[in-house]
Symmetry: C2
Subunit: 325 residues, 2 copies
Amino acid sequence: MTFSPKSYYIGIDLGGSQIKYGIVSSSGKVLTRGGRLTPQKSGRRGVIDSLVEIADNLLNFARKNKIRIRAMGIGSPGCIDINSGKVLGSCPNLPFWVGTNLKQIFRKFSLPVTADNDANLMALAEAKFGAARNCRDVVCLTLGSGIGGGIILNGEIYRGSNFAAGEIGHTAVNFLGERCKCGRLDCMETYASANAMLKRSQKLARTDKKSLLNQLIRKNGNRLDVPTLFLAYGKKDRIAQKIVEETGETLSTGIANVVNILSPEMVVIGGGLVDENADIIKKIEKQVKQKAFPTATKNLKIRRAKLGNQAGFIGAAYQASQSSR
Amino acid sequence: MTFSPKSYYIGIDLGGSQIKYGIVSSSGKVLTRGGRLTPQKSGRRGVIDSLVEIADNLLNFARKNKIRIRAMGIGSPGCIDINSGKVLGSCPNLPFWVGTNLKQIFRKFSLPVTADNDANLMALAEAKFGAARNCRDVVCLTLGSGIGGGIILNGEIYRGSNFAAGEIGHTAVNFLGERCKCGRLDCMETYASANAMLKRSQKLARTDKKSLLNQLIRKNGNRLDVPTLFLAYGKKDRIAQKIVEETGETLSTGIANVVNILSPEMVVIGGGLVDENADIIKKIEKQVKQKAFPTATKNLKIRRAKLGNQAGFIGAAYQASQSSR
């Protein structure tokens, strides 16, 4: 009889608003998982304490359940030096986080630790266990408060020089002169992130008091969220339809640009409007096939992300498993 | 005594207007070279006959000079299946060329033959022997009648799915609604190729009869070429300055997009305006560093191509040398 103990890995996904985490098997199965709010107001020290506590809890869970944790991985916003573990670049949502060494946070656990950009790890998870399973070259977009981008080439995260590749949300796709929070003009993120959609919808709704959208916003205490926008869209509210269609056009233009540059097998889109309206993927796919080169779209598939908000920590755990083999 | 005979390779670069070719050593030294017009009007048969004649002549040269040719490589417009050698995709400048099998053309010579897209091979040559020597991740743009693009990742040509990657000239960088000859709206090529610059300059010059540019065009039999445009630019003609500056802005926007996606070590630009005005590279570099992410531009260099119109056949010969090792 051969004895084959299963290997397990901790994955932690630090985001601007939430930390998601879990214990994941080498085949991508999630054994346990959880989430908590990022203690933004407690600064760097508070976030570090929170991350250490999460790792402590997960290791206790493992001990109780007689599971061996072989390594841990962490995903974080910003540009991450995967060798040192240091956060090199800007994190508009966690400004105090730049300069933190992600690997050193977990030093006391005496386990191998890997660290990478959160969007890179989401793309990796979708390519290994999600929508793009078995695809070699994949581009992944996540539409949230911003637009995260990750690129998988030959089955591996592509980081380019200085670990900075994949910022597809910050390619210019319009020339209306809107300033993005990255400082650049006309980024895809400024027009097509979930936040951008909501902002533009509210502005338009204000100009048409009789519109369904305006009524829904007023009912909701003058606030708008993505489900409400799509409720109005589903009921054929003119403003909601205009915004969703314009957002689809912007996304398909930006995606067609990336497709002409990289010619991936698959583009995976998660978050924001696609979680609320699966049909939009079909529309975007059709538009990208009209806008990009026929040779580049011949084998192209555009698919909805499958792993939802678990993608980040699953990717982090997978990366840890690869480096500790 | 060790006997180490040098290895030589034939490289042929088929373009819409010219065929350039040479015999190249394994270290990139050009032993002999030449060029002739592409016999466009003779159709596919005529172009094939021309290519075979060129190969015949180069092999005769090699025999006379007691040089051993080990393999030959060809570059061609269009999307090339590098395994079969077949031209898969559109060649707007050589429409009859789609479907041709590039490897079979040279079958009678009983030598290993490699085939690839011309812009891919230019990028490869610049990365191995030109401006981007010793760089791992390189993006190469050639501004001619169109804008060719090639991507080198980890020192190798990146082709993506269906061999279609690298069409950076066909990313949308403006929203003025100009139709590109690829069928898409607002491609970089429509605004920033040498042809596009000349077309827009002529249109503007017509509206200002007193301008230096208008005078130069009339002197030149109502035609405008790139050197004349830059003559006017050098003499501070308002129209020429406006066009060159706008072209630089368009290029830097498109390049900043690619830099945020791929974060290469170097962007190499050849042809068109940079051959006539080396200073423009400095301007574009400055603008790209303003427009792209600081983390993505930290190590980035933007350089003028070094190999000129020899890059295509040098890249073809280099590729042949790699596959016949």
